[in-house]
């Protein structure tokens, strides 16, 4: 009913291959973009920008990256934090060491650095499978934790090994207000989101999923495991790296290695599980969920006027997270994204059952 497709005929494969084949979706997307670019900057408060929207966007980007690897290529990684860190520190060094280095280039540089490391730590995946690989990726995490801590060069010889970035300027335009920073992130997230979407719906995306679903068959039809897996690692870590750079530059501004510790890795993994493995949209859902849940959990008691100790609510937070993860894995392994598309399906055929 709401989704009436009658009269929308696809006369060409191009039409069928479009990003959003259904008109309603196209409109919805436009509306969403309008809200994001115009609505939010007008309405949102500093707090909403700095504490909700910006982290949400950056984490969503990181989740997209991780999803390419885990959700599409089926190679589970527990070292995402490390790749974020590499992105952040590489970008930082490009900024402080090269005079007049454009910010965007440094961010991309961060991505490239992360991609290189990603490929390095991806190589074992050619031989090591599944759980063994999962644990092996922790090697990346701990190595990078140590490296960023120990090697003074990485932190530009700062006394304590903490780093802190200058004001963000692109083409002479500086991004100081939360709104501007939000828009910067938004733009980058949308661009990379689209690029990622293109990859996963194209030939390479099919190769990744083929590796995920049945690697032997994939090899037999001529997919090179080496190429498929390593590209997945590269693309994934690149995006994650850029996200890491943004996390450092835009969200934190100054950070210590702990900011990219193993907790981050797990947090991102939770995001894509809850949001939906193998779904770009899911990455956004997951990020939104992880950012909002804690706020709700310690918000609700306050708004209801009943006092819950901060400790209790954060313990509850842990428990609810955990419970939800198990819940999703049991009830809806494809996460919020699938729930959403089910809902959409319902709307399409409404009022008929199916």
């Amino acid at each position: 009913m709401f989704y009436r497709e009658n009269g929308q005929f696809k006369s060409s494969y191009r039409a069928d291959l479009a990003l959003f084949p259904i008109a309603q979706d196209r409109w919805a997307m436009l509306a969403l973009a309008a809200i994001a670019f115009v609505g939010a900057p007008l309405l949102a408060s500093d707090y909403a920008f700095r504490a909700v929207l910006i982290p949400f966007l950056i984490l969503a980007l990181a989740a997209i990256g991780l999803n390419v690897l885990v959700g599409y290529c089926g190679q589970i990684s527990l070292g995402t934090g490390a790749f974020m860190a590499v992105g952040a520190y590489a970008a930082y060094n490009l900024q402080v060491r090269i005079e007049g280095m454009p910010l965007l280039l440094s961010l991309l540089g961060g991505g490239v650095a992360a991609a290189v490391l990603g490929v390095m730590f991806g190589i074992p995946s050619l031989r090591i499978r599944g759980l063994y690989l999962a644990v092996a990726t922790l090697a990346a995490q701990f190595f990078v934790d140590w490296f960023t801590n120990r090697v003074a060069w990485v932190t530009h010889d700062s006394s304590s090994g903490s780093v802190s970035v200058q004001t963000l300027r692109i083409l002479g335009h500086s991004f100081d207000t939360p709104a501007q920073r939000y828009l910067l992130c938004l733009a980058l997230v949308i661009v990379f989101g689209l690029l990622a979407k293109n990859l996963v719906r194209g030939a390479i995306g099919r190769e990744w999923m083929a590796m995920r679903d049945m690697d032997v068959a994939a090899a037999v039809i001529g997919i090179r495991p080496v190429y498929a897996k390593l590209t997945a690692f590269a693309v994934s870590s690149f995006i994650v790296g850029v996200a890491g750079a943004l996390w450092g530059f835009v969200h934190l501004g100054a950070w210590e290695p702990a900011a990219f510790g193993i907790d981050k890795s797990f947090q991102l993994l939770f995001m894509i599980i809850i949001g939906g493995l193998g779904s770009i949209a899911g990455s956004f859902f997951g990020a939104a969920f992880i950012v909002l849940l804690p706020l709700l959990l310690n918000g609700i008691p306050r708004w209801l006027g009943l006092s819950m100790s901060t400790a209790t609510s954060s313990h509850l937070e842990h428990m609810i997270f955990g419970a939800l993860i198990v819940f999703f894995l049991i009830v809806e392994p494809h996460g919020l994204a699938r729930l959403w598309s089910t809902a959409r399906q319902k709307l399409r055929v409404w009022p008929f059952p199916h």
Partner: protein, 265 residues
């Protein structure tokens, strides 16, 4: 009769031996496949039929023997090479990509044909810049022809996991056909099918062989089918070759009767 007459040897398997740890799966197997023919491999369970195919497309590396394809001889095949040389394969117990739609499954068969690089694909767009979109559409058109041929139009976008067994078998075949193979290895294409489905499948196989002149190597249990559609038959038992020839010759072969058809006497 058929459009293209059986030509000369296209695939020649010589003295293949394969073992896992101590266990011998194949012992000194040799046979040849001629262009355009339908070649069947039969034998009781565990005779090593699938292992044989796995050697041909480089899933397993045989310890001894060689495989000659169009005059090129290999000791070890690597799956990629095999695919590039135009050998396609369907699987005994469905090896489809469960998470993907029927369409995408078949599209993967075209991957070898798709040349545009990572960046080109990333920046794919409907505005005609870059190769990716064009390529995608060309390949899509080819795949749609296969979809028509296999009569699975309505299920294009359905995740294969949700398709009936028979349909999945067709998608499996479609994925192989999408590679435009010269040699098509079919591992029990009709296992677990009912009569009607079997007839459809046989029809598809013969059409493929006929229309595209694809050489077919077929593992099948259903003797009826085998004897109907195949030109020559290899018989394996406990990893050894015990018979090779036309259906009639094989039927007459004493070893084969003892080892296999014995039950029918």
């Amino acid at each position: 009769m058929r459009a293209r007459p059986v030509g000369d040897v296209i695939l020649d398997v010589r003295n293949i031996s394969l073992s896992f740890g101590g266990v011998k799966a194949l012992t000194d197997i040799s046979f040849s496949v001629r262009e355009h023919e339908v070649r069947a491999i039969i034998g009781p369970n565990g005779a090593g039929k699938s292992s044989m195919l796995n050697c041909i497309n480089g899933v397993y590396q045989p310890q001894q023997g060689s495989i000659t394809f169009r005059g090129q001889t290999f000791k070890h095949m690597n799956s990629r090479q095999v695919a590039e040389m135009g050998v396609a394969r369907t699987f005994q117990n469905l090896a489809l990509f469960k998470g993907m739609s029927a369409l995408d499954n078949i599209m993967t068969g075209r991957n070898l044909k798709m040349k545009s690089g990572l960046l080109a694909q990333a920046f794919r767009n409907p505005f005609g810049f870059g190769s990716a979109e064009r390529e995608e559409i060309e390949q899509r058109e080819f795949v749609e022809r296969i979809i028509d041929f296999l009569e699975i139009q309505p299920f294009r976008k359905t995740p294969v996991g949700q398709l009936s067994y028979g349909l999945q078998k067709r998608v499996d075949l479609g994925r192989a056909l999408a590679m435009e193979p010269q040699v098509l290895l079919l591992d029990e294409p009709m296992a677990g099918m009912n009569m009607e489905e079997k007839q459809d499948m046989s029809r598809f196989i013969l059409d493929v062989n006929d229309e595209f002149g694809t050489t077919i190597v077929l593992i099948e249990h259903d003797m009826g089918v085998v004897m109907d559609i195949s030109d020559r038959v290899v018989v394996l038992d406990y990893g050894k070759k015990i018979g090779d020839g036309t259906p009639d010759e094989v039927r007459a072969n004493a070893d084969v009767i003892r080892a296999y058809l014995g039950v029918e006497q």
